[in-house]
């Protein structure tokens, strides 16, 4: 187990490098959009990875609520954080791509809007975690995660009627794509997933470590650290009030 982490790190680095090479030099150039289209290999895998992470977040949150398992909570926290990062990548690469091909940075299109709302929901999740003062933050956060997950399909329906400008889904959506592009795309996705796993894992270990340290510190901080007990360190005298 100890050795799995460096191995994963090495594999991820190799995969990312190879996928980068494939995306930039090997994949065929798109006819109408030109080289800008290569952003595709980062845009789409990021989106898929973010979805995956948010899904894991939901599962972990449910597990936490049922089992009260601290590990599940750490997983939820970590996937929330990393998911927001990947979602941000989508929201940044999207407009960068949109500007040259559509001529605008942003439009209220169904796919764009759902992504934005998804991002908003999970940012509010992180804000709650950051601002909570309760020792029960995990519970509150898990509940919010479930609310967020329930909201997503509704968001999707509520903007169903927006005219769309964004390409249809590649897989299962009936769109057609050059198989070589698809190959590169899937490769990139694999690399991104490994990367996400790697980062989440590191973050998870850090989080668990932080909690252990906190607990140890808590139990050690004896009376001197705690209260105004210095003056009465010696003994608690009894009341001598005559009644």
């Amino acid at each position: 187990m100890k050795r799995a982490f460096p191995i994963l790190a090495a594999v991820t680095a190799l995969l990312l490098a190879y996928a980068f090479y494939e995306a930039i030099w090997v994949a065929p150039m798109e006819r109408t959009m030109g080289d800008v289209q290569r952003i595709f290999y980062y845009h789409v895998p990021s989106a898929w990875t973010a979805f995956l992470l948010f899904f894991v977040n939901l599962i972990a949150s449910v597990i936490y609520l049922v089992r009260r398992n601290a590990k599940a909570d750490a997983v939820a926290l970590v996937t929330g954080e990393v998911g927001v990062v990947f979602c941000t990548v989508v929201l940044v690469t999207g407009p960068i791509w949109a500007r040259p091909v559509w001529g605008i940075w942003w439009t209220w299109d169904i796919r764009l809007t759902t992504t934005l709302v998804l991002w908003l929901i999970y940012v509010s999740y992180l804000v709650l975690r950051r601002f909570s003062e309760s020792s029960q933050t995990p519970k509150l956060a898990a509940v919010l995660a479930i609310f967020g997950a329930l909201d997503v399909p509704l968001v999707y329906f509520s903007i169903w009627f927006f005219r769309t400008q964004h390409p249809q889904p590649v897989i299962g959506g009936g769109g057609s794509i050059d198989p070589r592009m698809l190959h590169v795309l899937l490769l990139n996705w694999l690399a991104f997933s490994c990367f996400a796993l790697l980062v989440s894992w590191a973050r998870y270990r850090l989080e668990m470590f932080k909690r252990e340290v906190e607990e140890a510190e808590a139990l050690e901080s004896l009376l001197v650290a705690g209260s105004g007990a210095q003056i009465s360190k010696t003994q608690i005298p009894l009341s001598r009030e005559p009644q």
Binding site: E217, A218, S221, A225, A229, L238, Q243
Partner: protein, 224 residues
């Protein structure tokens, strides 16, 4: 005094607030029908222990069993009184108790006025609780805790701000309740008030129970 079976069992209770642990492994058993007094310095963890027993603070680790149930399930048997009054400042005492009686499914006002009278206040007082004097508020808070006639009373400094005469009456009331079979826990810094009345004194220090004595001894064994 008959030794009854332990009804409250606390096992290795730890309560952590961030970097600080207010309870560091409390293990104890308490018999029912007895009058326990919890003593200790400021910050020793007495309030935290009481809140855990009342089911208000989920312990970080450890277990509490009350009549073999957890504190939440046993909530009907528990009466809790805290530092803050746990009353609505804008309503009169009677209105407050009437509302809380509904929460415990107690019908009629009889029980509410009985509770108010038993702490030496007047059920007719129409002033809102926010305008009571500190000691009156404290007593009304006790009335709220005993309203549903619980088997276990958890009282956090019930005598602070109460005048000596009324405090003695409150002790009398508690003694009566103990004799009627209730289990009573009182946190206080005025232990002398309870010298004759209490069955056991429990000493806390730095988040742990350091000693339990039958009488109020000046220097209980085992204390540093």
């Amino acid at each position: 005094m008959t030794e009854s079976a332990a009804t409250i069992r606390v096992t290795n209770l730890i309560k952590q607030f961030g970097r600080f642990a207010a309870l560091r492994g409390v293990t104890a058993e308490f018999d029912s029908g007895r009058f326990h007094v919890i003593l200790g310095d400021n910050g020793a963890g007495k309030t935290t222990l009481l809140r855990a027993l009342a089911g208000l603070a989920d312990p970080t680790r450890g277990e509490i069993s009350i009549f073999d149930k957890n504190p939440h399930e046993a909530c009907r048997e528990i009466g809790y009184m805290a530092h803050p009054s746990l009353l609505y400042d804008e309503m009169s005492g009677m209105e407050n108790l009437r509302y809380f009686a509904r929460l415990y499914d107690i019908a009629g006002d009889a029980r509410s006025s009985e509770a108010i009278r038993s702490v030496g206040l007047d059920p007719e007082l129409s002033r809102p609780v926010g305008k009571y004097s500190q000691g009156m508020r404290q007593r009304m808070s006790l009335a709220r805790a005993i309203l549903h006639d619980p088997k276990i009373l958890l009282l956090d400094e019930p005598f602070s701000n109460v005048d000596v005469h009324s405090a003695q009456e409150m002790v009398g009331l508690l003694k009566q309740m103990r004799d009627a079979g209730k289990t009573i826990f009182v946190v206080t810094h005025q232990a002398a008030l309870l010298e004759g009345a209490a069955d056991e004194f429990i000493w806390m220090q730095a988040g742990q129970i350091v000693d339990r004595t039958r009488h109020l001894v000046p220097d209980p064994a085992g204390r540093a």
